[in-house]
């Protein structure tokens, strides 16, 4: 218990620090005590929505990763590796190309189609990842790889074939928080906290599901419904993130893993901690992305990979005993 309390304190402090850094650092260094009019404008119209976007996208992706790992009972699952992120981007791209939605006119519709794309990818991975009713790690990862590559390729074709106007629209969700503003940020503000609440509400059931569907059912858990609920939830969180900021990898893989190692696998504490940690992580990565190559920006996905992968590999070597891998 004490550990978890300590964890919350650390994460809250990190959250504060991360936001202070994100809001003050940039091509324009803002000190909160002495702000000019332009500073205020930059702070409230650009940096604040950007940081909030990064927080909720990072938290959402991390939580989605934790959910997938619980669902598939495997620590190597996350939206990106399972191809769900690619599904989300294909959903959005297809909607734009077919003229069903436009990021200019109705961004919410784009997110909706993104969600549909994520669900399709989920169905495919679920279908191909099962063997005799059980999820096989091997098949899951391969199915995810395949589905992800396939959908990403289709998006690439759309980009190449699109007329100039269409091409411009497609670039909209291709990545990063560089052009975040309040009208896109509010989507994450509205959607992600709901997702977190739902995830925490049924965390106990997911805990029991870790033992297998049959054992869980025998314990009184409606296994099928819980699995469907969480799968859809994870796809939802993924699609919100992708439609806002494009494909960002490794957040959903690394953050839950680290939290699990330190605080244990109980989803009731794992989910909220992972959400906040993921949010802080991405805010920090976005800040780094902004200042490293000033005035240009590094795509935030590159920063998460550069920071995250070495960490991940290190943990992989160190902690495999706990996982029976």
């Amino acid at each position: 218990m004490k550990r978890i309390l300590l964890g919350w304190i650390v994460i809250s402090c990190s959250l504060l620090i991360a936001f202070i850094l994100a809001l003050s650092i940039g091509p324009v260094w803002i000190s909160f005590l002495d702000m000019s009019e332009t500073d205020k404008l930059i702070l409230f119209s650009l940096r604040l929505p950007r940081s909030l976007s990064a927080f909720f996208v990072g938290g959402g992706l991390a939580l989605a990763g934790a959910i997938f790992q619980g669902l598939f009972r495997n620590p190597l699952a996350d939206s990106y590796l399972l191809g769900i992120s690619s599904g989300a981007s294909l959903g959005a791209a297809a909607a734009i190309v077919l003229g069903l939605a436009s990021p200019l006119a109705n961004f919410t519709a784009v997110s909706l189609f993104s969600f549909l794309g994520a669900l399709s990818a989920l169905c495919l991975v679920f279908y191909f990842g099962r063997k005799n009713g059980e999820f096989s790690v091997f098949r899951l990862l391969l199915a995810g790889l395949g589905v992800g590559l396939f959908f990403s390729s289709i998006v690439a074709v759309f980009l190449l074939m699109a007329q100039e106007e269409l091409k411009a629209l497609l670039f909209f969700f291709l990545g990063g928080f560089a052009t975040s503003s309040w009208d896109t940020t509010w989507v994450s503000l509205a959607c992600v906290p709901i997702g977190v609440l739902v995830a925490c509400t049924f965390a106990r059931e997911l805990n029991v599901l870790l033992l297998g569907e049959e054992t869980a059912t025998s314990s009184g858990v409606r296994a099928g419904r819980i699995q469907a609920l969480y799968a859809i939830l994870a796809a939802f969180l993924t699609s919100v993130s992708v439609s806002l900021a494009g494909l960002i990898g490794f957040v959903g893989l690394i953050v839950p893993h680290i939290i699990r190692i330190i605080f244990g696998a109980d989803h009731r504490t794992l989910f909220p901690l992972t959400f906040f940690a993921g949010g802080v992580f991405l805010v920090l990565c976005d800040t780094i992305a902004r200042i490293v190559m000033e005035p240009s920006e590094l795509p935030v996905g590159i920063v998460t990979s550069l920071v995250g992968v070495p960490l991940f590999l290190y943990l992989l070597c160190k902690e495999t005993s706990d996982y029976g891998l």
């Binding site: 033992l211 297998g212 190692i261 696998a265 109980d266």
Partner: protein, 263 residues
């Protein structure tokens, strides 16, 4: 004997797609019974377990629990009566033994209830299988026998009076095989629990079970007290192996030896 009938199976029929898996099943289980399900592979033992669990629904016939159809119980309600120990799952997460056993309390805890009463039940369950000293250990670091005992503890933590086990002695060394059956027997004797276990080792069945159901090709070949039903004829008919029955002079315990091993 005046013992209460808890589970009653009536005219059960089950099939997967077009293939019948279980047919004409009709028997009942009383309080305090340790029922062994035996039979060759594919005879439907696991399917029968799943039907008793309520995971599968019979295509015809029914299962009565306390004279009410099993299907009429809500999942959590049913879980308070029947608990299940599956074959060992591969657990990829760092749960401690305590946390794993605590999962068994699910049917009893409300959404936001405190954890204190549950901790007592969890510790009690661990004590019953003599694994209390392992509670802070990560489950995946335990030995096969220890894991099985912890899994049984989880089912015990469910405070259900009916325990269903699918091959609980598989892959276990001799010491743990005996220990587990002893624990199960004690539950039946001292707490009037019901244990239904799929077992392969006929000698263990002979020593510990009260009743035995011998299945062959989805049909009950024989059902009844183990002394009567587990005999050379039935074994030959169900398994196709000629075994000779022998009795130990002092205790009267019966065991079986393959005939071709006799001089």
């Amino acid at each position: 004997m005046g013992k209460k009938t808890v589970i009653h199976i009536q005219d059960l029929f089950f099939s997967y797609e077009e293939n019948p898996v279980l047919q004409q099943l009709d028997f009942s289980i009383q309080e305090g019974d340790l029922l062994a399900l035996v039979g060759p592979n594919g005879s439907g033992k696991t399917t029968l377990l799943k039907i008793l669990l309520g995971i599968l629904s019979p295509k015809a016939g029914r299962v009565l629990l306390d004279n009410k159809p099993l299907q009429s119980y809500a999942p959590k309600e049913r879980a308070k009566h029947i608990a299940y120990v599956s074959q060992q799952p591969a657990l990829n997460f760092p749960l401690t033994a305590f946390e794993l056993v605590a999962l068994g309390r699910y049917p009893h805890s409300g959404r936001f209830k405190a954890a204190k009463p549950d901790a007592a039940a969890v510790n009690e369950a661990l004590k019953l299988t003599e694994t209390i000293h392992l509670r802070e250990r990560k489950f995946s670091t335990l030995s096969g026998g220890e894991k099985q005992k912890v899994l049984i503890s989880r089912a015990l933590a469910q405070s259900a009076r009916i325990l269903l086990l699918d091959e609980p002695t598989l892959h276990l060394d001799l010491y743990h095989q005996i220990q587990i059956l002893k624990i199960l027997k004690e539950l039946c004797v001292e707490r009037s629990a019901i244990v239904v276990a799929v077992l392969h080792e006929l000698n263990l069945v002979s020593l510990y079970a009260d009743k035995v159901a011998m299945l062959r090709r989805g049909i009950i070949h024989a059902f009844g007290p183990v002394r009567e039903v587990l005999n050379e004829t039935n074994i030959k008919e169900v398994f196709g192996v000629a075994m000779a029955a022998r009795e130990e002079s002092e205790s009267g315990a019966r065991y079986f030896i393959p005939r071709d091993r006799l001089a």
